[in-house]
């Protein structure tokens, strides 16, 4: 009798989250499977398949270069403008894919949530994993392009994972808020694309903040600014100064976002099924 694990679980109102973090670890494989499913399914029946994940940023790079460099004549500080844009687009793509995916994740997986128990955090987390895979593909294409422009990688490239991680944290914090709110108020389905549109402009993708002294501190309130600057600093070599105070601001804001996001998500998680 004692051979079978006498693992005891008590379910009671208000304390259903017993063993939550242990369960999260136990279900880590599910996280991988959900991410794998989303990646696998996304380009099914699309003739160009995975190429789409390259075409979009390529077109965006050309457009943004044209608008900011040729029309607005923004200063490039000696860096080829397309590279500047590309290095800004990478973290933006990471964020928008992770945030967009996480925002829709709970409602999109409503059938799972209403039939099976698992820590619900798995669902938005798997959206992050999908975004990360996308980024790695883009990165693999970007690096040869920077070489073509004659920009040699430096030791700073080794710090890139830190900024990738920071970008994911920002997306996770914001995504937790939106996805938990969407469960109850479907209005947030319309709000998240809207936020992404605004973000595209208030994030320094097509321009450099170090040449905009008047705006730099204001832009630093956007936690992604620190991420974008970090990406450029890592990828494009010596011409970028390390804007430390901006980075600290980014860190602070993303920590607050993540903390409150987790708090709200965990607080409402137990009612998801009854509302979804």
């Amino acid at each position: 009798m004692n051979s079978s694990s006498p693992e005891t679980l008590v379910i009671q109102a208000g304390r259903a989250e017993q063993h939550y973090w242990r369960d999260l670890w136990r279900f880590r494989e599910l996280l991988g499977f959900l991410a794998w499913r989303d990646i696998k399914v996304r380009y099914k029946q699309a003739v160009l398949g995975i190429t789409w994940s390259v075409i979009q940023p390529a077109v965006q790079t050309v457009l943004l270069t044209f608008v900011f460099s040729k029309l607005a004549k923004m200063p490039d500080g000696g860096v080829p403008y397309p590279l500047l844009v590309l290095a800004g687009l990478l973290p933006w793509q990471l964020f928008s894919s992770a945030f967009g995916g996480a925002s829709n994740s709970l409602v999109g997986n409503a059938n799972l949530i209403s039939k099976i128990y698992f820590p619900r955090l798995i669902v938005p987390l798997s959206a992050l994993a999908v975004a990360l895979v996308d980024l790695l593909i883009l990165l693999a294409i970007t690096l040869p392009v920077t070489l073509l422009y004659g920009v040699m990688p430096t030791w700073r490239l080794l710090l890139l994972p830190v900024f990738i991680f920071l970008g994911l944290l920002v997306a996770f914090g914001a995504g937790l808020w939106i996805t938990a709110l969407t469960v109850k108020y479907r209005d947030f389905r319309f709000i998240s694309p809207f936020l992404l549109q605004i973000g595209l402009f208030v994030t320094p993708i097509g321009y450099r903040t170090d040449f905009l002294p008047n705006w730099r501190d204001l832009l630093a309130l956007n936690p992604l600014t620190g991420v974008v600057n970090g990406f450029r600093w890592c990828l494009l070599g010596g011409d970028f100064e390390f804007f430390a105070s901006g980075l600290i601001m980014s860190l602070l804001i993303s920590a607050v976002l993540l903390g409150t996001g987790l708090w709200y998500f965990r607080g409402t998680e137990r009612q998801f099924v009854d509302v979804i």
């Binding site: 009671q12 109102a13 099976i116 128990y117 108020y185």
Partner: protein, 425 residues
């Protein structure tokens, strides 16, 4: 060490119907906040109370290792809510559950199956969703595939599967879980008979052979009777009975499948049906409880219908036992363009159907009626709507079998039993 695997004490679950719906959009939530500000006209408290529904009320029971508990009750009795709480999908409002052992729940067949993925990929995905590790799935992979009988289609996207294949594959994955406690909701209602039997066999094996504990919700009373060592009857969220399966089923059957009210109220009409029944009577009795003295006489079923479009119409009746298991189908017999299918133009009609039932033993039976355009579509039906109380006590035939329990009826066949000597001792 106590052998109790599941202990449920005073479990309740309250749903606030109105409040959830009212807050579905942000605008509603904001306007609700505003109207509830002090000073604003307040909605009466009574109004709020009517929006509340106790899906479960103060349910207490215990299950020991190796038990198979059947949970029965009508729709809305709280069966699914109970399973959802035990599977940790939703949390109770009050009460406490103690579970000893790993729980796996199967509330739906094929949860998380993705139509675009192949059978092979879905086995892994579904396994992970049900809580199996990758290594565990790999180890059981061949067994799962063999059980589901889908070897040839493993690398085909499941959206191209027939529904039977889909269900088989989904159940096969679930059947190979190895939890200490298995929770199964009405999942056997799908799939063909042969596969249902295989699934029931597998569940029986799991419970008796391997000492697992199974909780089983089903409307299939035959399955409950075969599988369950104990049974709980829920009624409107409360525990009505807990104990021997036969007693529970008997109570369930008696608990008002029929009410003595008008049979016509039991009508289930298909959407956009051009045919609607306006009255129904069996042997001139329009209620849902009909006493029949002797089934040697045909039953006469009279239905009045309102037809609103050109159609062809026929009727069939099934005789079921009191658990709803079908015994005999009574059909006028029609082929594709059969004579028995009436061509009807809009108007009111009275249909008469004389049904010759087999000789039934004394007891209660249920009658199921269907009006349909044969081979095309069903228009209206009366599922298990009419209770036949058969009193065959006046008959002299068939006495020697009556209490044997197995046959429900008998036929008087033409001819005699002859005896012919074919040899000496």
């Amino acid at each position: 060490m106590s052998d109790t695997v599941i202990a449920v004490e005073g479990l309740s679950k309250l749903y606030r119907l109105g409040r959830v719906a009212r807050h579905d959009t942000l605008r509603d939530a904001i306007s609700h906040r505003l109207t509830h500000l002090p000073g604003f006209a307040r909605r009466s408290r009574q109004d709020d109370a009517t929006d509340e529904l106790w899906a479960l009320r103060d349910v207490t029971f215990e299950i020991k290792r190796g038990d198979v508990l059947g949970i029965i009750g009508r729709n809305g009795a709280g069966k699914s809510t109970l399973l959802k709480i035990l599977s940790r999908i939703t949390e109770p409002t009050n009460g406490r559950v103690t579970l000893r052992g790993r729980v796996a729940s199967l509330l739906e067949v094929g949860t998380g199956f993705h139509p675009e993925l192949t059978g092979r990929e879905n086995i892994f995905l579904n396994g992970a969703i049900l809580g199996m590790s990758r290594a565990e799935i790999r180890r059981k992979f061949d067994e799962i595939v063999a059980f589901a009988e889908v070897e040839r289609f493993l690398d085909t996207a499941v959206k191209h599967y027939s529904s039977g294949m889909y269900v088989r594959l989904a159940f096969a994955v679930a059947a190979h879980l190895e939890p200490e406690i298995l929770i199964v909701d009405e999942v056997l209602a799908v799939g063909d008979m042969q596969f249902q039997k295989k699934c029931l066999g597998k569940m029986q094996e799991v419970a008796s052979g391997e000492g697992r504990t199974v909780l089983f919700v089903s409307h299939n009373t035959a399955a409950v009777q075969n599988l369950c060592t104990q049974c709980m009857l829920l009624e409107a969220g409360r525990r009505r009975f807990f104990g021997a399966t036969n007693e529970a089923l008997a109570l369930y059957v008696d608990s008002g499948a029929t009410t003595g009210g008008p049979a016509i109220d039991k009508q289930v009409v298909q959407a956009n049906s051009p045919v609607l029944c306006t009255s129904l009577a069996v042997n001139g009795n329009a209620t849902d409880r009909v006493a029949v003295a002797n089934t040697a006489e045909p039953l006469e079923i009279t239905v009045e219908v309102r037809v609103t479009g050109d159609t062809r119409l026929s009727m069939e009746a099934s005789l079921c036992d009191r658990y709803g298991n079908k015994l005999v189908l009574c059909s006028p017999g029609h082929d594709q363009d059969g004579e028995d299918t009436h061509r009807l133009t809009p108007g009111h009609y009275r249909l008469r159907f004389r049904v010759q039932l087999p000789q039934l033993f004394r007891g209660h039976y249920l009658l199921d009626l269907t009006l349909a355009q044969p081979y095309v579509c069903k228009y209206a039906s009366f599922p298990l709507a009419i209770e036949l109380a058969v009193d065959s006590s006046g008959l002299s035939w068939g006495r020697m079998y009556e209490d044997a329990g197995v046959p429900v009826g008998f036929m008087v066949v033409p001819g005699r039993v002859t005896a012919e000597r074919i040899g000496n001792l």
